[in-house]
């Protein structure tokens, strides 16, 4: 599974925060939270935005845990202290002492909250500050239940459309322009940044940056109907050179079929239902309702992160996509085994 392979490569960049995190784990006694590494984890940052947020998270976790422990300790002490006492009547001055203590506690609460507020506001400001240099702009359009991805370029021939997989160069700020084709979705790649809603008729901007190469998984985070659970995407961060290579390859139209079998597969694609919704650049298939399949074989997953991109899964998906993702908009296809075989071979040749 590609996802599993990627998990292992995940490493942290925040060296100076590692000690603090370990400390937090000890102090809090919640070793629980330290196992949060992963391809879709908010506390395993791969870029400056997610790093800032995770720093804020650890700060908050430490402060809040301390508050929790202190309050609970005082509560337990009060309960058991009082339990041991045998007098009900207050000692003189109790009222005043309690009032003073409570006022003090409220004051401390206000101070702590103020501190957290400032920390939060500073992080928020840093996140929303716009980069000065020109940045790579990618439009992401949410569909029920997949992601349309379009790379903007001043030259119209160099704009690029793909789906469900976003390649970005490492070390560069990337601006995402988010909108939706139908209902509200939410773009969320937790290793890179927090989420931002895709709202029909609105365009939302978000800046992300990956500092280390890797594949980061993201998922729709706003309930969007039957297949909300299976609306994922991959962000592939790679070195600028490899990204440029990838971009050039993706700009090319689909390769012509190399042999008779593939040619037959292409024919099946163009004469069956596939052509009603999908585009393969370089052929007559140019419908825009479904994901662009020009370089389908270069992508890691099928059906918006639902299945690994293997011939078996692709075949099953084409025959009846409703098994893996019931309710999605791709209809079942009745194809003879030979036709299906050729079609899958053809699609898997679209690198």
């Amino acid at each position: 599974m590609p996802l599993l392979l990627l998990t292992g490569s995940a490493r942290r960049t925040a060296k100076n925060w590692r000690a603090l995190r370990a400390y937090a784990g000890l102090v809090v006694g919640l070793l629980f939270f330290t196992g949060c590494r992963g391809v879709q984890s908010a506390v395993d940052p791969a870029g400056p935005q997610a790093l800032r947020i995770s720093k804020l998270w650890w700060t908050m976790l430490i402060v809040c845990s301390a508050v929790f422990i202190i309050v609970l300790a005082v509560l337990l002490y009060s309960v058991f202290r009082a339990h041991r006492r045998n007098r009900v009547a207050d000692e003189p001055g109790t009222e005043q002492r309690l009032t003073r203590t409570i006022s003090g506690a409220v004051l401390v609460t206000v101070v702590i909250l103020f501190g957290l507020l400032i920390a939060s506001a500073l992080t928020g400001r840093a996140l929303s500050s716009q980069p000065e240099q020109d940045v790579l702009t990618i439009e992401v359009v949410g569909h029920q239940w997949w992601w349309e991805v379009q790379y903007d370029d001043p030259l119209p021939v160099r704009t690029l459309k793909t789906a469900n997989e976003i390649h970005i160069p490492t070390g560069q700020v990337v601006m995402l322009k988010l909108t939706s084709h139908d209902v509200i979705h939410s773009f969320w790649a937790p290793n890179l940044h927090g989420k931002k809603d895709l709202i029909p008729g609105h365009v939302a901007l978000i800046w992300i940056q990956a500092d280390r190469p890797g594949v980061y998984r993201g998922q729709c985070a706003e309930f969007c109907g039957a297949q909300h659970a299976h609306m994922a995407f991959l962000v592939v961060a790679e070195s600028p050179e490899r990204f440029a290579d990838w971009y050039e390859k993706q700009l090319k139209p689909a390769a012509s079929p190399a042999d008779a079998a593939l040619s037959h597969g292409q024919q099946v694609f163009l004469t069956s239902r596939c052509v009603m919704c999908h585009t393969i650049r370089g052929t007559t298939a140019a419908a825009i309702s479904g994901p662009d399949l020009t370089h389908l074989a270069s992508r890691g997953t099928l059906a918006a992160g639902t299945l690994p991109n293997t011939p078996d899964h692709l075949g099953g998906w084409v025959v009846n996509s409703q098994v893996a993702k019931p309710g999605n908009h791709m209809p079942p296809n009745e194809l003879s085994p030979e036709d299906l075989q050729s079609l899958v071979s053809y699609l898997e040749s679209l690198h």
Binding site: M1, L3, L4, G38, Q40, S41, A42, R52, L56, W57, M60, C64, V71, L72, L75, S78, V79, A82, H83, R85, N86, V88, D90, L98, T99, T101, I102, V106, T109, L113, L116, L117, A119, S120, A121, T123, G124, S128, D182, V183, S186, W188, G194, K195, K196, D197, I199, P200, G201, H202, A204, Q219, A221, E222, F223, G225, A226, A229, T306, P326
Partner: protein, 653 residues
């Protein structure tokens, strides 16, 4: 005070009547008629309150069953037990049931039963309206569940975001069912809120000035005002949704000048206060229980009241923190973050005051107090994760994930359900005359505490690991399976705990230890009458000389006499000082509220299918309302007889 009492005594028409005869007459006057028709015409706040509580609890069980189904589906990755279509209906039903059919109604139900007793009067204000509100609530709930069984259960989540719930993406009638259920519950909630405000302001026992009201009553007063300000927003919102769906208006259509964000703003302007509407009454219960079981008045009465009021005000100023992911401008973010954090201050004040009470008092560890201690543990944790969520950057990460699911269950179950269970154990003897079993109660508590934390604590981590909420399944590669299984096990433990509670109720109702008037030695007026209370509540309306009347008052504390016992007469007092103002005749039992509720239900349900249901359905509603208010000759005579000429008022100061 004594001046006022004397006034009443002197003004009274029958002073020297012997207690037993008075009792019999009151019994005759205030009783609920027998027979099916009679029971359905009841306007007794205790009868209706009990029905309200039981109905709400049944909905709690239904919502719980839905929760268990979801937990079973999520116990392992790629489970095929429940498909997306059914799962989406189930989680929507769970949220809708718990918020609209359980949490708010059960708090109001407790108040309908308790508030008139606590303020020392014979009935809730507008008793017929009270009956009507119960029936509307009941019919709304039945309607939702019948539709669910007909595969028409709403499936867009309990906040029904447009455009997903709009005309284009939610075909059929599922979203209309949701929107119309909101109409049912908001009508019911608004009615009860108005009744409570009037009961608390105008029907308090003489001497119970505003600064002597029990904390639970204060909590209900604040809650009622919040309902009155919050509910109309969601009424507007759901009406706009129905109009969009049924008659093609464009309130939420971006292309024609509407905006899907409008839905969210209106919804959360209601939806956030809703959380406080649920949990402020619970805070009142906590204060009641702590006071009783530490044998001392709750510390910092004024601070607690001011905290409640502050919570209510601030609660209206932080709805946008549910929408941080929708591109809120920087300044707005800071404002709503600040407001969201600020609300932790009044909550903190209350927690500190309670701890101080425990510190200074001598806690008696009965089941109600255990639930309150459980409340502290869970609610403080939920409150702190709430502070985290108030921060925009953090919220952007954990919003709409299982972290949020964990957070609001900590706040709502910890903040409201634990005190509510404490409240059940605390007031059950008052309602039934028998105590709940303590052993079962302790099992109930510990299993609920353990099961709850096992279910919801792992969800914090699931959220941080990237698991969004409202997914019907997840891929095995994500590594969420273990914690989800743990949560499911916790959910089953909670189920056992709730079953124990039900067993306890059924056993104790028949064979529990008899309670007596005041089994806990509590201080508030509801414990001054018999358990269960007579249908006229108090033989003589009590007077009050302090915050804890049953602890402080002398044996010979005056009572109010002179209220007529042959008609349903109730004493009305002034809002601030509760000085006697005048007497008023309350309505007799009537079947019309039920008929009006049936007619209204017909209108509401019909209007899902055709706009014509509104004008046509208005006819039976009008007819039943006319029947409701039609003056009878007997009623008129009684009214005239109860009026007095002002000439006797010479001893007014």
């Amino acid at each position: 005070m004594s001046q006022a009492t004397k006034t009443i005594i002197r003004k009274g028409t029958r002073v020297s009547m012997d207690d037993e005869r008075e009792r019999q007459r009151l019994e005759q006057t205030w009783r609920t008629p027998g027979g099916w028709l009679g029971r359905l015409s009841s306007v007794d706040h205790k009868v209706i309150g009990k029905r309200f509580i039981i109905t709400a609890f049944i909905f709690f069980l239904l919502g719980g069953i839905e929760a268990v189904l979801m937990r079973i589906q999520l116990a392992r990755p790629e489970s095929r037990l429940i498909g997306p279509d059914l799962y989406n209906q189930i989680f929507t039903m769970h949220g809708t049931t718990m918020m609209f059919l359980f949490a708010v109604p059960v708090m109001e139900a407790m108040a309908v039963y308790l508030v008139p007793l606590m303020v020392g009067t014979r009935a809730i204000a507008f008793p017929r309206l009270n009956a009507f509100s119960y029936y509307i609530y009941l019919f709304g709930g039945i309607f939702l569940y019948v539709m669910f069984l007909l595969n028409t259960g709403p499936d867009n989540g309990w906040f029904s975001y447009v455009p997903l719930a709009g005309p284009q993406y939610a075909p059929g009638k599922r979203a209309d069912v949701w929107a119309q259920l909101i109409t049912f519950t908001e009508v019911s909630a608004l009615i009860v809120a108005v009744e409570l405000v009037v009961t608390i302001f105008k029907l308090r026992a003489p001497g119970m000035s505003l600064n002597r009201i029990p904390m639970f009553v204060w909590a209900m007063l604040v809650t009622s005002f919040m309902i009155i300000f919050a509910m109309p927003t969601v009424a507007l919102d759901s009406t706009c949704l129905i109009l969009d769906r049924l008659v093609s208006t464009h309130f939420f259509n971006q292309a024609e000048g509407g905006d899907p964000l409008l839905w969210q703003h209106l919804f959360w302007f209601f939806g956030h206060p809703e959380v406080y509407i649920i949990f402020i009454p619970a805070l009142g219960m906590v204060s009641s229980i702590i006071g009783t079981f530490t044998r001392r008045p709750v510390f910092g009465y004024l601070a607690l009241v001011l905290s409640l009021i502050a919570t209510a005000f601030i609660g209206f100023g932080l709805w946008v923190h549910h929408m941080f992911a929708t591109d809120v401008p920087q300044l707005g973010q800071s404002f709503f973050t600040a407001a969201s954090m600020m609300i932790a201050v009044p909550s903190g004040v209350q927690v500190f005051c309670w701890i101080a009470t425990l510190w200074a008092g001598r806690p008696i560890f009965k089941t109600p107090l255990l639930f309150v201690l459980g409340f502290f543990f869970i609610f403080i944790l939920g409150g702190l994760s709430g502070v985290m969520l108030a921060s925009v950057p953090l919220d952007l990460q954990v919003h709409d994930t299982f972290f949020v699911v964990a957070h609001f269950h900590y706040v709502l179950i910890g903040g409201a359900v634990f005190p509510l269970f404490g409240g059940f154990y605390y007031w059950f003897p008052k309602i039934t005359g028998r105590l709940l079993n303590e052993t079962l109660g302790k099992w109930n508590f510990w299993l609920l505490l353990i099961g709850f934390n096992l279910t919801f604590f792992p969800m914090h981590q699931l959220g941080l690991q990237g698991m969004p909420r409202r997914v019907y399944t997840y891929l095995p590669e994500m590594g969420w399976g273990g914690l989800n299984l743990l949560a499911t096990v916790g959910g089953l433990i909670m189920t056992i705990s709730v079953l124990l509670f039900i067993i306890n109720v059924f056993r104790s109702r028949r064979s529990g230890e008899p309670a007596g008037d005041n089994p806990w030695g509590a201080s508030t007026l509801e414990w001054a009458t018999s358990s269960p209370p007579q249908n006229y509540n108090f033989l003589y309306i009590p007077t009050v000389a302090g915050r804890d009347p049953l602890w402080e008052q002398a044996e010979d504390q005056p009572v109010v006499t002179g209220l007529r016992s042959d008609i349903r007469e109730v004493l009305v007092t002034y809002t601030l000082d509760a000085e006697p103002d005048h007497r008023i005749k309350f309505p007799n039992p009537s079947i019309w509220p039920l008929l009006a509720a049936i007619a209204t239900t017909g209108l509401f349900i019909g209007s899902i299918f055709t706009p014509w249901a509104v004008p046509i359905g208005a006819v039976p509603v009008t007819v039943t309302l006319i029947g409701w208010f039609w003056p009878t000759a007997k009623g008129h005579r009684e009214q005239l007889a109860s009026e007095e000429q002002p000439a006797e008022a010479e001893d007014q100061p």
